[in-house]
């Protein structure tokens, strides 16, 4: 059975910033949401920590986890190019996998997913709808959904989901069936990405992978394991994201990392996703940004765009109808690469900010994405960015920067 996945941007309301003064008199702003902290600032480890170290990984802190930046002597550029030309395996087990289950065969979950759980929350006292997280949801049945969210948003997401579930289960809706959330703690998640990913994985399974098209998933028998495999990824290449029970993670990682597949770290993951024009939560998306500004209103279904009926609809529709004040765009930049935080100018006026930028290993050009004032977002618009106190020419460019290579059957 093949399941269909969907990408959602969960929209929330910017929590009112609470102002407080520190002991040193400095004024800080706190979100009203408290995040539980790990004891002693300890980093979490995925099940593959030892596997990475044995393979020569340089481990770095990322989203509360110790994760591989690169392996052995393989530089970021070589590693990046290998994924574009062959195949790479990424440990993305730091991401949060969870399920939504309903006890009854009702339509409770789809309705929650459609209207509240996924494109989420606005309540009346807030001014503006922003993005809590970007989320992939896969419908396994009318009453069962598989959800993957970002590691860096773990506490925020889980607390938010629990709050929404409680609201649902204590409302009239509960009659249609209670909804439960189960977090798949410690489960493995591996991304096999690249033009040779499909032929490699096909060698390990009897299931015809040609039927598994981009955006769908299935339970796939892989050398005696039965694993949830979703076709897609975060590189722009064809590939798979494979969910693995904790005890099988190391064995599956070994199975999936033989030649020509190379282990690939966070460094290459970032440059690949930026070439693919994809957002990194925290850089390119945050709670102050609406899905319309981010160019992600395609995640909202046509019917709901028109009828509303989802939390946050009022602000989102305002942006849809009247246009957002700023928009996320891509840039090609001359001279030096512009990084996150670089100011964007039109003449003397600052009209935006770069949110991600790198020298692209595939294109040998400096690429970036950022937000600009609406009206200056059209392809070909010539602007300037400031890098090390000097202005550099920046031309608004369509994304993805590198053509995507998905298997659509």
């Amino acid at each position: 059975m093949i399941f269909r996945s969907a990408v959602f941007v969960r929209q929330a309301l910017k929590a009112p910033a609470r102002r407080y003064a520190t002991e040193t008199g400095q004024v800080n702003y706190l979100s009203s949401f408290k995040l539980p902290k790990l004891m002693n600032n300890q980093l979490r480890k995925t099940r593959l920590y030892n596997f990475h170290v044995e393979n020569g990984a340089k481990m770095v802190p990322f989203a509360g986890y110790s994760m591989p930046l690169s392996y052995g002597d393989v530089g970021q550029v070589a590693s990046h190019n290998h994924v574009r030309s062959s195949a790479g395996l990424f440990d993305v087990g730091h991401m949060v996998q969870s399920k939504r289950l309903s006890r009854s065969h009702s339509h409770a979950i789809p309705r929650m997913v459609n209207s509240e759980l996924i494109v989420c929350v606005k309540s009346i006292q807030f001014d503006f709808g922003g993005i809590i997280d970007d989320t992939v949801v896969t419908k396994h049945a009318e009453d069962a959904f598989y959800v993957v969210t970002n590691a860096g948003r773990r506490e925020r997401d889980l607390a938010w989901f629990e709050e929404k579930l409680e609201e649902w289960n204590s409302s009239e809706n509960a009659k249609k069936g209670l909804v439960e959330m189960e977090v798949l703690e410690d489960w493995g998640l591996l991304a096999l990405q690249g033009p040779e990913a499909a032929s490699y994985l096909q060698g390990l399974t009897s299931l015809d992978l040609r039927k598994l098209t981009f955006g769908t998933s299935a339970f796939v028998p892989i050398e005696g394991f039965n694993l949830h495999v979703a076709r897609g990824g975060y590189t722009g290449e064809d590939g798979f994201e494979i969910s693995i029970p904790p005890s099988q993670t190391v064995e599956v990682a070994k199975l999936l990392s033989k030649s020509p597949v190379q282990l690939t770290g966070l460094g290459a993951r970032d440059s690949l996703r930026l070439e693919a024009g994809m957002c990194l939560y925290g850089n390119d998306l945050d709670e102050d940004t609406s899905p319309v500004e981010a160019g992600l209103s395609w995640v909202i279904g046509k019917a709901r765009k028109e009828s509303g009926g989802f939390i946050g609809a009022e602000d989102v529709r305002e942006h849809l109808i009247n246009g957002p004040p700023r928009r996320r765009v891509g840039f090609l930049i001359e001279g030096a690469p512009a990084r996150q935080g670089a100011k964007i100018f039109s003449g003397d006026e600052q009209i935006g900010m770069i949110t991600s930028g790198i020298p692209s290993p595939t294109l040998n050009q400096n690429i970036a994405m950022g937000y600009v004032k609406s009206g200056l977002h059209k392809k070909g618009t010539e602007l300037e960015v400031e890098v090390r106190s000097k202005r550099r020419k920046a031309v608004v460019t369509a994304m993805p920067f590198v053509k995507s290579n998905y298997w659509r059957g």
Partner: protein, 147 residues
């Protein structure tokens, strides 16, 4: 070379934050009586000062290049620019990060390594020789002193 390493993906600031000021002095009485003094900065730059020519050759250390990873872009000052000690004079960039270069000494930029614009990887292969960044005519040679 201050590790400004703007956060591209890593939440904690990485790599070059190991402020080590190591000093070394290499005497080179190779027939001539000139003395080359090497001074390392906390920012992982090095200036090799030749007291005969009055020129200091600016490089980054092997540790710095290895922390940065594949260098893909180098920005250098223009020849003839007057620079003050600790002034930012350019940057060395890998895919993941940009690191600013600071002048370890005051003076005038006498030459820059033109090879680096076409072959930035020289900084990885030979950071302290073929991958030299620029030559500064010192206005205050005592700044190169290791004392």
């Amino acid at each position: 070379m201050q590790a400004v390493l703007r956060r591209t993906l890593i939440s904690s600031s990485p790599l070059l934050r190991h402020p080590v000021t190591s000093l070394s002095r290499s005497w080179r009485p190779s027939g001539f009586r000139n003395i080359v003094t090497k001074k390392f900065t906390a920012e992982h730059e090095c200036v090799a000062f030749d007291d005969a020519s009055g020129l200091g050759v600016i490089t980054i250390t092997d540790h710095a290049q290895s922390s940065l990873g594949d260098v893909v872009f180098v920005e250098l000052p223009k020849v003839g620019t007057n620079v003050a000690q600790h002034e930012q004079i350019g940057a060395v960039e890998s895919v993941k990060a940009a690191s600013d270069i600071y002048a370890p000494v005051s003076g005038t930029i006498e030459a820059i390594n033109e090879e680096l614009s076409g072959q930035p990887s020289l900084l990885n292969k030979s950071p302290e020789e073929k991958g030299w960044l620029c030559k500064i005519k010192l206005s205050n040679p005592s700044e190169a002193s290791v004392h």
